[in-house]
C-alpha cells in the first residue's frame, strides 16, 4: 500500500519538475532575447502578443511545423537520436537537485527532490559528461563538413572543461563531507560556500559556461564560421530539441550553482522555493549578460584557458582547501 503511495508521489514530482523545466526553458528563450536586446540597446521581440510575451509560443509552433530534413548520406539512426541526448542530459541532472526544504503534510515529510542519491554529485558529473555525445554524434551523423568541424571542436572543448568542472567541485565535497546534494545544502546552513570557495565558484561558473556552449565558448556552434556547427543540418523538431536542451541545461546549471555555492533554498524571510528560484536565475541571467558582452574566444585561447589556467588553479585550490581544513580541524 505505502509502496503505491510512494510511487504516485514520485510520479507527481517527476511530472512537476518536467513541466516546470520545460516552462522555464520556453521562458528562458524569451528572457534571453529580450534581455539581450536591451543590453544591445534594442527592443528584442515585441510583435507577438503584448510586449512579445507570446514569442515562445510562436517559436515553438514554427519549429514544430517546419519540415524535418535529413541530409543525404546521413547516418539516420544516430542523426535522429543525437538531439535527444542533449535534451535528456539536463533533465536527468534535475532529478538530484533539491528544490526546497521538506514538504510537511501532517506527520510525513516529503523531500522536494526526485532522488536523493548518496552519489548525487558524481551522478551529475557522469550524466553531464554524456552531453558530448549529442554534440559529437549529431555533427558526425549529419554528413556535412561544417557539422563535422563543429562536433570535433565540441568533443575537445567538452572533455577539456569537464575536468575543471569536476575538480572545482572537490573542495565543495571536502567542506560538505558528502556527495549528496541534500547534504551539501544542509552543510551551508551557516554560510554559503561562495564565501569560502570563491575560486572554486569562479572555475565552476566558467566551466559550466563552456559545458553549455554559451557565448564566449560557443565554438562548436560558431554561427559565423561554421554556420551553426554541429546543428547546421538540423531543422524543425530536432533542431528544437537541441535548442531546448541548451536552455534547460542553462536553468539546471543555474540550479546547481545555487546548490553548490549559494546555499540552495536557504535564505531569510522568503519561502525556500522562492529563494531557490531567485538563486537559480542568477546564473542564466549572467550567462546572457556575458553573451552580450564578450566576443568568442579563439580555439587556442579556449584550450589554454582550460588546460593551463583553470586546471592548475583547481588543483592548487584543492590542496589549499585540504591544508586549511586540516589546520582548522586539528
Amino acid at each position: 500500500m505505502w509502496w503505491i503511495v510512494g510511487f504516485v508521489v514520485l510520479l507527481i514530482k517527476v511530472a512537476v519538475v518536467l513541466g516546470v523545466l520545460f516552462g522555464f526553458a520556453a521562458g528562458m528563450v524569451l528572457v534571453e532575447r529580450k534581455l539581450l536586446g536591451r543590453l544591445q540597446i534594442r527592443y528584442g521581440p515585441n510583435r507577438v502578443g503584448p510586449f512579445g510575451l507570446l514569442q515562445p509560443v510562436a517559436d515553438g509552433l514554427k519549429l514544430l511545423l517546419k519540415e524535418d530534413i535529413v541530409p543525404k548520406g546521413a547516418d539516420r539512426i544516430i542523426f535522429f537520436f543525437a538531439p535527444a541526448v542533449v535534451a535528456l542530459v539536463p533533465l536527468l541532472i534535475a532529478a538530484v537537485v533539491p528544490f526546497s526544504s521538506d514538504l510537511k503534510i501532517g506527520e510525513t515529510r516529503i523531500p522536494v527532490l526526485i532522488a536523493d542519491l548518496n552519489v548525487g554529485l558524481l551522478f551529475f558529473l557522469a550524466v553531464a559528461s554524456l552531453s558530448v555525445y549529442g554534440v559529437a554524434l549529431g555533427g558526425w551523423a549529419s554528413n556535412s563538413k561544417y557539422s563535422m568541424l563543429g562536433s570535433v571542436r565540441g568533443a575537445a572543448q567538452l572533455i577539456s572543461y569537464e575536468l575543471s568542472l569536476g575538480l572545482s567541485l572537490v573542495p565543495v565535497v571536502m567542506l560538505a563531507g558528502s556527495f549528496s546534494l541534500v547534504d551539501i545544502v544542509n552543510a551551508q546552513a551557516e554560510y554559503p560556500f561562495i564565501l569560502v570557495q570563491p575560486v572554486s565558484f569562479l572555475i565552476f561558473f566558467i566551466s559550466s559556461m563552456a559545458e553549455s556552449n554559451r557565448l564566449p565558448f560557443d565554438l562548436p556552434e560558431a554561427e559565423n564560421e561554421l554556420i551553426g556547427g554541429f546543428h547546421t543540418e538540423y531543422s524543425g523538431m530536432r533542431f528544437a530539441l537541441y535548442f531546448l536542451g541548451e536552455y534547460i541545461s542553462m536553468v539546471v546549471l543555474g540550479a546547481l550553482v545555487a546548490v553548490f555555492f549559494l546555499g540552495g533554498w536557504r535564505g531569510p524571510v522568503l519561502p525556500p522555493l522562492a529563494w531557490f528560484l531567485i538563486k537559480t536565475m542568477i546564473t542564466p541571467v549572467f550567462f546572457i549578460w556575458t553573451r552580450a558582452t564578450l566576443p568568442r574566444v579563439r580555439y587556442d585561447q579556449l584550450m589554454q584557458l582550460g588546460w593551463k589556467i583553470l586546471l592548475p588553479l583547481c588543483l592548487v585550490n584543492i590542496i589549499a582547501t585540504g591544508g586549511i581544513a586540516l589546520l582548522v580541524r586539528s
Binding site: L122, F123, S129, L130, A136, V152, I159
Partner: protein, 172 residues
C-alpha cells in the same frame, strides 16, 4: 529467481551482446557507441552490486572521457569507416578470449566463495574512500606516479623535443 538475480542476468546479457556488437561492427563510430552501451550496463551492474561510486566513475571516465577521445580520434583521423577485414586477424583475439574465459571459469568454480548468492548491499562513498585510502594507499600513490610520468611524457612530446611552439616559430 529473485528480482536482483533477474536484473543481474539481464545486465550480463546486455553487456555481452553489446560488446559482441562492438567488436563486429565495420563502422567504427557504431562500434564505439555499442561499447558505450556496454559501459552503461557495466555501471548499472556496479550499482546493483552496491558500488555506486564505482558506477559513477565508470560512466565519468570510460563513457564520458575515454570513449569520447576514441570518437574524437576516429572523427578527425579516419572518418568512421574501415575497409574490409582480414579473417585471419580474428584468430589471435579469439584464442586470447577463450583462454580468459577458461581461466575465469576455473577461478570461479575453484573458489569456495563462488557458492554464495547475490546479496543487496551498498558501500557508501565515505566508507569506500576510507577503505581505499587506509588499506591501499601505496598502490594508489604508485598509480598516480605512473599517471604523472605519462603526463610529463605527453607534455614533452607536445613541445616538439623540449622546445615550445613559440620557440619553434621564432626559429622558423
Amino acid at each position: 529467481m529473485t528480482a536482483l538475480r533477474m536484473v543481474f542476468y539481464l545486465l550480463a546479457i546486455l553487456i555481452v551482446a553489446s560488446t559482441a556488437m562492438a567488436i563486429t561492427r565495420k563502422n567504427l563510430v557504431h562500434a564505439v557507441l555499442y561499447l558505450v552501451q556496454s559501459f552503461f550496463a557495466t555501471a548499472a551492474l556496479f550499482y546493483l552490486l552496491g558500488a555506486p561510486v564505482l558506477a559513477a566513475l565508470e560512466i565519468i571516465i570510460y563513457a564520458g572521457a575515454i570513449m569520447v577521445l576514441f570518437l574524437f580520434i576516429i572523427m578527425t583521423l579516419i572518418g568512421g569507416y574501415t575497409g574490409s577485414r582480414n579473417h585471419r586477424q580474428w584468430i589471435f583475439p579469439s584464442l586470447l578470449g577463450l583462454a580468459s574465459i577458461v581461466s575465469a571459469g576455473v577461478l570461479l568454480f575453484s573458489s569456495p566463495a563462488s557458492e554464495t548468492g547475490l546479496i543487496a548491499a551498498t558501500a557508501s562513498p565515505a566508507s569506500f574512500g576510507r577503505y581505499l585510502f587506509d588499506k591501499y594507499w601505496l598502490p594508489i600513490e604508485i598509480v598516480s606516479l605512473l599517471l604523472f610520468v605519462a603526463l610529463v611524457g605527453a607534455l614533452y612530446l607536445g613541445t616538439h623535443k623540449g622546445k615550445s611552439v613559440a620557440q619553434i616559430e621564432v626559429e622558423q
